[in-house]
């Protein structure tokens, strides 16, 4: 019996190891794909969605920070590059980060690095034409999420920040 089952058992172990690794590798892409879909359903792809401050209850993205205001741009570069404009806001901290389909951070910059000024970047696939004079971020995949974070020191005084952040945008070129 042992002789008959030894090789099948070894085969099963090999399949288990491959399934383990494949699941781990696939999980971020699947989860990011779902996040892009859901954010796209809420505000549309290649458009900036300025979400209200997070409170209790279900949200598209788990573990949100209640101290930050989030504006997200779920993007799809299959039809062309994407221009992102982050407008300065009167907050001690804000940043723009871009996450690719594997959930890796392809780009991040904060207000200290921009010295309080606006930020303009273009996301593009290799080979796509990017306008001159604008910083380009090349991505290996079409889909991902750009996220604008703004520190809200006092949730009761969020209104001016909320107005200011609406000057930030993303759009296909």
């Amino acid at each position: 019996v042992i002789r008959r089952w030894l090789l099948p058992w070894l085969f099963g172990l090999a399949v288990a190891a491959i399934a383990w690794q494949a699941t781990l590798v696939a999980a971020p892409r699947v989860i990011m794909g779902i996040a892009v879909e859901r954010l796209g359903e809420a505000g549309g792809l290649n458009r900036m969605l300025h979400a209200p401050l997070r409170g209790p209850g279900r949200a598209t993205i788990v573990r949100p920070s209640p101290d930050l205001a989030y504006s997200s741009c779920p993007f799809d570069l299959s039809k062309g590059p994407l221009l992102i404009v982050a407008a300065p806001v009167p907050a001690p901290y804000w940043s723009l980060s871009v996450f690719d389909r594997r959930t890796d951070v392809a780009f991040v910059r904060n207000n200290r690095e921009t010295k309080g000024g606006p930020l303009r970047v273009v996301l593009a696939r290799p080979g796509q034409t990017v306008p001159q004079g604008v910083e380009a971020v090349r991505l290996g995949g079409d889909r991902g999420v750009a996220l604008l974070r703004i520190l809200v020191e006092d949730r009761a005084r969020f209104a001016p920040l909320d107005r200011a952040r609406r000057a930030s945008s993303c759009r296909s070129l």
């Binding site: 008959r4 085969f11 099963g12 399949v15 971020p28 996040a35 209790p56 573990r63 996450f99 951070v105």
Partner: protein, 220 residues
């Protein structure tokens, strides 16, 4: 199992084993394929299930354990392992890389007991070595906990410079004087400490003495 005993011809001594007769060969091959299929299927279920279970059970950024806190310094980078990448995607998608913020999460107190929202805790700490910090309380699914006061976190943005050097927050189901972090009476909760713009660029984990203490004061 059909191949355990091959059919015996009349008058001939019975032979055991799959190779006994030519007519047994197809059955033998079929049984061998069946064994591989069964083991392969079991391996597929086991490997996939174990990966899903471990990622679901894994803490956000769980590559280093420091007292009750867990953290990972390679979040969002191509250096992240497949496991780190999967746990971050599930428990904290779109997390910032280390140079922008460091994340530390805790599901137990200083004595290793699971955090219980029916109990009272004293959370205390000092300078976290970043531009500012924030301590947020979540339910086990990673969502903010509903409470009438609308308090979900305690952070240095609301503290004076002196308090940032030595602060105390009481966590529990009922309002407390001073800084209070409501637990909502949940059976289980967890904490996430965010340290933004860490002074060292996020290269090193904070040592235990610079991470908040989580002391259980009592339970009903």
């Amino acid at each position: 199992v059909t191949d355990s005993v091959a059919p015996a011809k009349a008058g001939a001594p019975a032979k055991t084993g799959t190779e006994a007769t030519p007519s047994g060969a197809p059955a033998s091959a079929g049984a061998t394929i069946l064994r591989y299929l069964l083991c392969g299927l079991a391996g597929l279920v086991l490997g996939t299930g174990a990966a899903v279970w471990s990622v679901r059970a894994g803490a956000f950024g769980s590559s280093a354990k420091i007292g009750p806190w867990t953290t990972g310094g390679d979040i969002g980078t191509d250096r992240a392992s497949a496991f780190t990448r999967a746990t971050v995607a599930l428990h904290g998608l779109l997390a910032l890389p280390a140079r922008e913020a460091r994340y530390y999460s805790a599901e137990a107190d200083d004595d290793g007991r699971p955090l219980d929202g029916r109990c009272r805790y004293r959370l205390s700490g000092g300078d976290s070595g970043g531009a500012w910090f924030s301590l947020t309380l979540y339910d086990p699914a990673g969502y903010l906990v509903a409470n009438p006061a609308g308090i979900y976190s305690a952070g240095s943005a609301a503290m004076s410079p002196a308090e940032r050097g030595a602060w105390t927050v009481l966590a529990g189901p009922d309002p407390k004087p001073g800084r209070w972090l409501p637990t909502g009476g949940l059976e289980r909760f967890n904490l996430t400490l965010r340290v933004y713009l860490p002074a060292d660029g996020g290269r090193a984990n904070l040592p235990r003495e610079r991470l908040p203490r989580i002391a259980r004061l009592g339970c009903p």
